[in-house]
């Protein structure tokens, strides 16, 4: 992804590779101003992204299914408990809408 001024076909393939490899932020950061403009104005790129997502889903989505759903359920329950606590602690108008995991995610990116 280090080439500069990539053509639209190279950009699409790099996007599809980034999606497959789970590193979309690296792709987004690699875009130059010209490449970003090229993407915005190319209908071929947008048409092809839909198929890239489908290929990614069909080929690799099974690996995202965690073997232990119970662990995930306890995470969801903890998130709900935290929101319940927040809603009881402060009036609705003053609540912060950003959640703990959203903040965690932002720190990571």
């Amino acid at each position: 992804m280090s080439d500069r001024n990539r053509e639209i076909h190279e950009l699409l393939v790099d996007y599809a590779d980034a999606l497959r490899d789970g590193c979309i932020p690296a792709f987004l950061k690699s875009l130059t101003r010209e490449e970003a403009e090229r993407i915005a104005s190319s209908w071929e790129f947008w048409d092809a992204t839909e198929i890239s997502r489908i290929l990614n889903g069909v080929g690799f989505a099974d690996k995202a299914v965690a073997p232990n759903v119970s662990l995930f359920i306890s995470r969801v329950d903890a998130e709900i408990a935290s929101r319940l606590k927040k809603s009881k602690a402060s009036p609705p108008g003053k609540r912060r809408t950003r959640t703990r995991s959203a903040a965690k995610r932002e720190n990571r990116t």
Binding site: H9, V13, G22, L28, A40, A64, L84
Partner: protein, 190 residues
């Protein structure tokens, strides 16, 4: 729709917050696989998918109104994507966008797009129509896509097809556009 899921949905749309919380476990058990596979299409990263989905389920618990009168799994997935997942997907890379050249709208379209013609087809149906479409590709085009779906790099695909990386990228791009045409045709036929 599965009886377990229907019961969970009834509990989930109740007014009482505690009842909704109790209904969350069977709801997650019934939908986790479907939702996470769908999210994976957009993120390609299982850790991100779980983080987003955690927020999506908590949002559903907080504001379940959109899930009233759901009658099928397809309708459930569409509603959850449109009213819960998309908002969360848009937040995922919002912060890094300050340093990007991509406009906010293009980023939104890339990460959390409108539902396309094929986005709501179930994964088993998609697998079927994709394999039909792949059967109609030229051998070289099909091999390039198969290798990509096995996780091969462009260099490895170029070595296998005895060509250059640049030629492989062009071949993949043209094949993806060709597949789009074919898949839209199959979808319309259905």
């Amino acid at each position: 729709m599965d009886k377990r899921l229907r019961n969970a949905l009834t509990g989930l749309t109740a007014k009482d917050a505690e009842r909704r919380r109790r209904a969350m476990e069977p709801f997650v058990r019934a939908t986790f696989g479907m939702f996470i596979k769908y999210l994976y299409r957009y993120l390609g990263n299982e850790v991100e998918c779980e983080d987003v989905l955690e927020d999506v389920y908590a949002d559903i618990w907080e504001k379940p109104e959109r899930l009233r009168n759901i009658t099928s799994e397809k309708q459930l997935l569409k509603t959850v994507y449109l009213y819960y997942m998309r908002n969360r997907l848009r937040e995922v890379y919002r912060r890094i966008n300050r340093n990007l050249y991509l406009s906010q709208n293009s980023l939104k379209d890339l990460i959390a797009p409108e539902i396309g013609a094929l986005e709501m087809v179930s994964s088993s149906e998609l697998q079927d129509i994709l394999s039909q479409a792949m059967g109609k590709l030229k051998a070289r085009e099909r091999r390039a896509i198969e290798l990509w779906m096995e996780g091969a790099s462009n260099r490895a695909i170029a070595n296998e097809l005895k060509t250059t990386v640049g030629a492989v990228k062009m071949l993949e791009f043209r094949t993806i556009l060709k597949l789009r045409k074919m898949l839209c045709y199959y979808n319309r036929e259905d």
